[in-house]
């Protein structure tokens, strides 16, 4: 091997070794066409659903009883429903609320799940045992039952509390709030388990031991040395919680336990469409548009989460 060749080889090693892990993850993500397409479509959905909020909030519940159950026309792009409400504006607002529910659930699962996971994994011993038994208990209870019971138990109380606090539309806010508590209460469990496992394996690594030996407080070790190393799984599982929560809301809406009309979500629009099916009139637009919104949104989010998982997986290459 000539010196020139060696120099080139060395240069390449340095060039490859010099890229930060984040940069490499971003490159891997950029090469994943499905994930990039998902991100793009999702961005479009977010912009049109949230950008039109000022308009949709004004007219989502406006009924026009002369114009009921019309197929899509230029005036009503997605047709109208049983009460003559414009499906397009309801679809846009429904998308915004569905995605909001997904994001809020992900936020809840990050806060509780990461908190519990880090404390359990870092402390170990009795604290770990107690916290993880708690997770086991919640895992074991049937999920739908838990959500239904929480709903039954909390909606009335929360409505009266919110009304007492002077919040506008207390019923609607309480409905969404309780739904979030229900979905959030179960979605942090997986996060807690994953993070606990990661933290446990990090805890005994030399750099963490060094930090401890230098006299850093546990809080500082966790925030400066442990958390940055588990940010990958946190992002991945948070991203995957969003579609799971949106799906859970649609299931609950189908059972009549989700967000209550007239407040629209993709889930309750879809179940209203399913309920409107009958053998005589096939009003396809009532079921097609909400379900298409759900499918496209979920697909993008799943592609995104999957792409992030592949990109942030430290064991690749």
């Amino acid at each position: 091997m000539t010196t020139a060749n060696l120099a080139v080889a060395n240069h390449e090693v340095i060039a490859n070794g010099g890229v930060s892990p984040w940069r490499r993850a971003a490159q891997r993500f950029g090469h994943n066409r499905a994930a990039m397409a998902g991100l793009l479509v999702l961005a479009v959905l977010v912009v049109i659903c949230y950008g039109t909020l000022p308009w949709t909030l004004g007219c989502y519940a406006r009924q026009n009883l002369h114009d009921t159950l019309r197929a899509p026309t230029a005036a009503h792009l997605m047709g109208t429903d049983r009460l003559g409400r414009d499906l397009f504006s309801r679809w846009l607002l429904g998308g915004a609320i569905s995605m909001g529910i997904g994001l809020a659930s992900a936020a809840i699962s990050v806060v509780i799940g990461v908190g519990v996971g880090v404390v359990a994994g870092y402390s170990g011993g009795r604290v770990d045992a107690v916290l993880m038994r708690g997770v086991d208990v919640l895992y074991g209870l049937p999920y739908i039952l838990l959500v239904i019971l929480l709903r039954v138990a909390l909606v009335g109380r929360m409505t009266s509390t919110l009304a007492w606090m002077g919040v506008p539309h207390p019923r609607e806010v309480a409905g969404i709030g309780v739904l979030l508590i229900g979905i959030g209460a179960v979605s942090w469990l997986t996060m807690a388990r994953v993070i606990r496992g990661q933290v446990m394996s990090l805890r005994n690594r030399p750099f963490v031991e060094a930090a401890r030996a230098l006299g850093l407080s546990p809080g500082r070790v966790i925030t400066r040395h442990i958390l940055p190393n588990v940010i990958g799984p946190i992002v991945v599982y948070a991203t995957l919680t969003v579609p799971a929560a949106i799906l859970a809301e649609s299931f609950l809406s189908f059972l009549g336990l989700g967000v209550q009309p007239p407040v629209p979500t993709w889930g309750n629009l879809a179940s209203a469409g399913v309920a409107a099916i009958n053998p005589i009139h096939i009003r396809w637009w009532l079921i097609f548009w909400p379900c298409a919104g759900l499918t496209v949104g979920l697909l993008c989010l799943n592609f995104l989460g999957d792409g992030l998982r592949d990109a942030l997986d430290p064991q690749r290459d």
Partner: protein, 337 residues
């Protein structure tokens, strides 16, 4: 091994107690349970006021809300009494149906378990070979296509798939191939055994499709990942280097190690066998555990809710135990002295 199992069984006790406590707390916190329970027992206007009152007392007594003299019982005491009678096997009588809870469960548990077991077998039959092939053909057409397909299926909302299946394949206007509801034809009396089985599978085809299509993505992704992990290990290279046949390497070295991941995943999905079927049962009008739990919760049928949730919790714990035992058997490195 035996002492390990016994130790694990003992460790289950506090978890189970925690579950019962949570269950009790959530159920008792829900308003309207007592009122609903009492209203259901009052059978029409024919009864005298006194008879109604007596019925209400009986229900309250049965639910351990009051003692024999009609004095209200405190909440902690209610919990203990409930635990005691449950341990003795007295699960109570449903408030909604005129039947003991145990009988209701006996009728519905097999329905849900069979459908979910068949679904699980179908999912494994597709997802495990799929994940294996995807790992072997990493980044090639099959891997990409299979990954995209399974994720796309995973993203389809079940209520859409379910109602579309009903709308297209159980509808005289399109294809009247499958029945729209139920598990059996009306004339089961006249069928022989094979006809009966055939009729059963004919009825559960659409529910099975509906409960399996979304399950492929997660499992095959995990199988693929764990096989790829193992393919990169040194012992695989050693095996290849000393000339072991390719298929033998895959089955004996790679797959055996990936089995551990599979066991964990199976254990995680076992509890879902019971609870995950509310939607499918609701769409296809199947009287299983999911539907029972759902209607019982809406009707505030306290004994049924508690029993269903309790059975679910116990099954979960047992499946955790099963996972640990399988792990010990499949992985010689794990020792449970």
């Amino acid at each position: 091994m035996t002492s390990y199992i016994i130790r694990r069984l003992l460790l289950m006790v506090p978890t189970l107690l925690g579950m019962t406590f949570m269950l009790f707390a959530v159920v008792r916190f829900a308003p309207g349970l007592r009122e609903a329970g009492q209203a259901n027992v009052v059978q029409g206007m024919m009864q005298s006021k006194q008879a109604q009152k007596q019925e209400q007392m009986l229900v309250a007594l049965r639910l351990h809300l009051v003692d024999k003299n009609g004095h209200p019982i405190s909440l902690p005491m209610q919990y203990l009494l409930w635990l005691k009678s449950t341990c003795e096997g007295h699960l109570g009588t449903s408030l909604e149906y005129p039947e003991p809870v145990l009988k209701l469960i006996e009728q519905r548990l097999p329905v849900t378990l069979t459908i979910n077991l068949i679904s699980m077998i179908v999912i494994y039959l597709v997802a495990v070979p799929g994940g294996l092939l995807a790992a072997v053909n990493r980044d090639r057409l099959f891997d990409r296509g299979y990954g995209l397909m399974s994720l796309a299926l995973y993203s389809l909302p079940m209520i859409w798939v379910g109602s579309s299946l009903l709308g297209f394949f159980a509808n005289p206007e399109f294809f009247n191939w499958f029945p729209a509801a139920g598990l059996h034809a009306t004339n089961t009396q006249s069928m022989d055994f094979f006809q009966y089985i055939g009729d059963y599978f004919y009825h559960i085809t659409m529910p099975i499709v509906c409960s399996t299509y979304a399950g492929f993505a997660f499992l095959s992704k995990q199988v693929r990942g764990s096989i790829l992990d193992n393919l990169g290990q040194d012992y695989i290279r050693t095996a290849r280097a000393k000339g072991v046949k390719g298929s033998t390497v895959m089955l004996r070295h790679v797959f055996r190690n990936s089995l551990l991941t599979l066991i964990t995943l199976t254990g995680m999905s076992l509890p879902g066998l019971l609870g995950g079927s509310v939607i499918v049962e609701q769409i296809f009008s199947i009287d299983g555990m999911g539907r029972l739990a759902y209607t019982a919760t809406l009707a505030r049928d306290l004994p049924v809710i508690q029993t269903v949730a309790l059975i679910g919790s116990v099954l979960t714990l047992l499946s955790y135990l099963a996972v640990d035992i399988c792990y010990a058997m499949a992985d010689p490195r794990v020792s449970y002295a």
